[in-house]
């Protein structure tokens, strides 16, 4: 494993480095169990969510989480987002960003170590590999073994299992974009859209390649996050640390030379053997460390065996290390987590969340948008009046039909009528019904005397004519010839 380290850093001299083999050994311990839980939760959320039903009445789909691209709607339980409300999605992304900053400032690369899909799926693939090929040593032996029926059988089984996971992963993804039960039936009977199959194909390929072949290479060479997170970490963020002042000098096994002082590290290489990225944490913090904490479990196991206190490798902040090195006591964990930087991040995160919730709660589900036609801006009519045209859209975002009334205000003497009707129908208001979860678009003419007071705040207004009155208003312009000609 040390040689692989050399390869990556160029000590070997070559301009290109082959991927060092990594055969992480299975390990058990506190952090491994935590990882199991996180893995179970994230994978369950991913695979099960599309199958959760949510009743929205007859006019909307009953899938709890659905990105309906064809009808341009996003459903999330009781929340329904229309394309013009996409800022909510932007808000979610902002929250995700701040959340990552918060997480990194407090617990370092916890995202990388526990929740990143690359980590979760690689972990899953590693378990499958161990289940078929055996643990680390068996895997190394198998790799060196000559070709045989048994070896081929194992290889075929392993790759078939990986591909199956890949297909399931890709398959689960597309269920977020269509009614899951219907789509599954269509998929099986071969009637689903080609894009569904090609999406599964692409995601199967990426899952298989990234989880089976690329693994830590994704983190080390492809992912931007390790580069960004080094700017987000500070001297009080928790990272996985080898406490060299306690471990060095290492003793080989338990055979200690009489009279020579040795550290706690017995150089058993357990921490290296379990590392999914194949590095040696004892070389200090490094980009390739995703802080999965498995080396902590491995080392704790060993310390327990030789009767030394746990935590030779442990989560620690840079500041704590400095203190401990000098023999002091580390800052209590509460003070590490609660400090101005993390509190500010947390405050921001909560503020964005609360603002979004508040605006979600306050939004009306009746919306008016008005676009004035620009070519031509106005038309002189033979009656002497001037006519402007508008494209008026009324969005009814509720799952029931709604009768509405459109009116104009702020323009004396103005009348309006639908461009498909004759001017005889011109009036001050216009009434029609907007279907459930639909947009009604009308091209509306407004005519007014050629001259008059400049319309300061000419606006359209929509009101619902039902038991739950909602209104919306949109200001626009009314243009007239500039001169009296």
């Amino acid at each position: 494993m040390m040689s692989s380290h050399k390869d990556r850093t160029g000590k070997g001299g070559g301009l290109y480095a082959r991927r060092p083999d990594v055969f992480p050994r299975a390990v058990d311990g506190f952090f491994r169990r935590l990882k199991w839980i996180v893995m179970a939760v994230t994978l369950t959320i991913y695979y099960v969510t599309p199958w959760v039903r949510w009743d929205r009445g007859p006019y909307a789909p009953d899938q709890a989480v659905l990105v309906d691209l064809a009808n341009r709607r996003f459903y999330f339980f009781s929340i329904e987002i229309w394309p013009h409300e996409f800022y909510y999605v932007a808000g979610l992304l902002v929250m995700a960003g701040i959340g990552l900053f918060l997480l990194t400032a407090t617990v370092g690369r916890a995202w990388c170590g526990y929740a990143c899909p690359q980590t979760v799926w690689t972990d899953l693939f590693l378990h499958i590999e161990r289940f078929i090929d055996g643990d680390r040593n068996a895997q190394i032996r198998l790799k060196q073994a000559p070709l045989s029926v048994g070896k081929v059988a194992k290889r075929v089984t392993k790759h078939a299992a990986w591909l199956t996971v890949g297909v399931l992963t890709g398959g689960a993804w597309i269920f977020y974009f269509a009614d899951a039960p219907t789509l599954l039936r269509d998929l099986v009977t071969g009637q689903a859209a080609p894009i569904a199959y090609s999406t599964i194909g692409v995601l199967t390929a990426t899952t298989y390649i990234f989880g089976g072949w690329m693994r830590e290479q994704v983190c080390i060479y492809m992912c931007p996050w390790p580069r960004i997170q080094s700017a987000m970490l500070d001297e009080r963020s928790l990272t996985v640390t080898y406490k060299d002042w306690r471990g060095e000098p290492r003793s080989h096994g338990l055979k200690r030379v009489e009279g020579q002082k040795t550290g706690d590290c017995i150089d058993c290489n357990a921490c290296v053997a379990v590392c999914p990225t194949g590095i040696d944490i004892r070389n200090g913090p490094q980009l390739a460390c995703i802080t999965c904490a498995l080396c902590i479990d491995a080392c704790d196991e060993m310390m327990a065996k030789i009767g030394r206190p746990r935590g030779l490798i442990d989560y620690a902040t840079f500041e704590d290390c400095e203190v401990e090195r000098k023999g002091g006591a580390p800052v209590p964990i509460k003070r590490t987590l609660l400090r101005s930087r993390t509190l500010i991040y947390f405050g921001l995160w909560v503020a964005v969340g609360v603002a979004m919730l508040a605006s979600l709660g306050a939004r009306t589900r009746l919306d008016l948008s008005v676009g004035q036609e620009r070519n031509p801006l106005y038309v002189q009519l033979s009656s002497g009046e001037v006519r402007n045209a508008y494209t008026v859209k009324v969005r009814n975002m509720e799952t029931r039909e709604r009768p509405v009334r459109i009116s104009i205000e702020g323009l004396p003497g103005a009348r309006m009528w639908d461009s498909l009707e004759s001017e005889d129908k011109a009036a001050q208001v216009m009434e029609f019904t907007v279907g459930a979860d639909q947009v009604t678009k009308r091209r509306i003419y407004v005519s007014a005397p050629r001259s008059g007071p400049a319309p300061a705040d000419f606006a359209f207004r929509v009101e619902s004519r039902d038991d739950t009155p909602n209104t919306d208003r949109e200001e626009t312009r009314f243009d007239r010839p500039e001169d009296g000609q």
């Binding site: 050399k6 390869d7 990556r8 850093t9 160029g10 000590k11 070997g12 001299g13 070559g14 301009l15 290109y16 480095a17 082959r18 991927r19 290479q217 060479y221 620009r374 070519n375 031509p376 038309v379 002189q380 009519l381 033979s382 009656s383 002497g384 006519r387 045209a389 461009s419 498909l420 003419y445 050629r450 000609q485």
Partner: protein, 292 residues
């Protein structure tokens, strides 16, 4: 590779220091993963294949054709043919239905309007403007003022045969006399007629000149423009009482008009465009806002 001893190692990173040096800046060797190199080779292979099957290498006159025989022109032709085929049913229905029989709210009418919109942008905007708002001499098609009539059948007739189109027997023709140039009226009389017309269109207050012009109008203009000056569509004679002026309603413009006469022209589109397109144009123009 030679033995490690001869290599300089950077203490901070543990990487080998290469021999290159620029102004004291030396380079570390951070090796690229080998699979990255493979993706690079794969790109090269792909590029070679791409150059073989698609047009790639520019020559003096043209470029290598590529084994797929693909050209952007060919791709366009195919798309156009497909679009044409997709429109076949609509076009057939349009060709067979008389224009006044198309239901204004039918999908067929909507298709006709959209087709007309596209054809208008190519053939008509040069004079009428992209919003069909016209300009002096070229009528605004959005308003409700029509020289020759604004119901859909009449608009269709006008587009088919044009206005004053030589060689088309059904074209719209009329001729306004050049009252000044041909000395039918004296400049003073023309002035009076202009006053009267401007009074009719509420641009001027009543005056003696206008009163004199009234008699001159009845004798010289009413035959076409009507006694009430509201125009006569059989002659394409405009309504002179409204605020819409094709050549301008100022004294200068009107004096010009009465002195030298006006005779706008429009090509007849039948024969230049296919019959369905002409029908579509009529449908489009009719729904612009002034259709009767």
């Amino acid at each position: 590779m030679s033995d490690e001893e001869t290599k300089a190692i950077d203490p901070a990173t543990g990487s080998e220091i290469k021999n290159h040096e620029w102004d004291g800046i030396r380079e570390l060797n951070t090796p690229l993963p080998r699979w990255w190199l493979w993706t690079f080779y794969a790109c090269i292979v792909f590029a070679i294949g791409y150059c073989v099957v698609y047009p790639a290498i520019p020559l003096v006159e043209n470029a290598t054709a590529g084994t797929f025989g693909w050209t952007s022109r060919g791709a366009l032709d195919k798309e156009m043919a497909a679009a044409e085929a997709g429109r076949a049913a609509t076009n057939k229905a349009l060709a067979e239905t008389p224009i006044e029989a198309i239901d204004p709210n039918s999908p067929l009418m909507r298709a006709a309007v959209e087709g007309g919109r596209a054809a208008f942008k190519v053939n008509c905007v040069q004079c009428h403007g992209s919003g069909a708002a016209g300009s002096p001499g070229y009528p605004n098609l959005n308003d409700d003022d029509w020289l020759w009539g604004g119901d859909i059948k009449t608009v269709y007739q006008t587009i088919r045969h044009g206005i004053r189109q030589p060689g088309d027997d059904l074209t719209r023709v009329s001729q306004m006399p050049a009252f000044g140039r041909d000395q039918l009226l004296t400049p003073v009389q023309i002035d009076d007629v202009v006053s009267y017309v401007r009074y009719l269109s509420k641009q001027e207050k009543p005056s003696q000149s206008a009163a004199r012009g009234k008699a001159l109008f009845a004798a010289n203009c009413a035959a076409c423009h009507g006694n009430d000056a509201k125009g006569g569509r059989q002659f394409g004679a405009p309504n002179l009482t409204d605020p819409i002026w094709l050549y301008g309603g100022s004294r200068d413009a009107l004096t010009q008009t009465v002195t030298n006469a006006r005779a706008g022209v429009m090509p007849s589109w039948e024969g230049r465009l296919d019959p369905v397109t002409v029908k579509m144009l009529a449908a489009y123009v009719h729904q612009l806002g002034g259709g009767e």
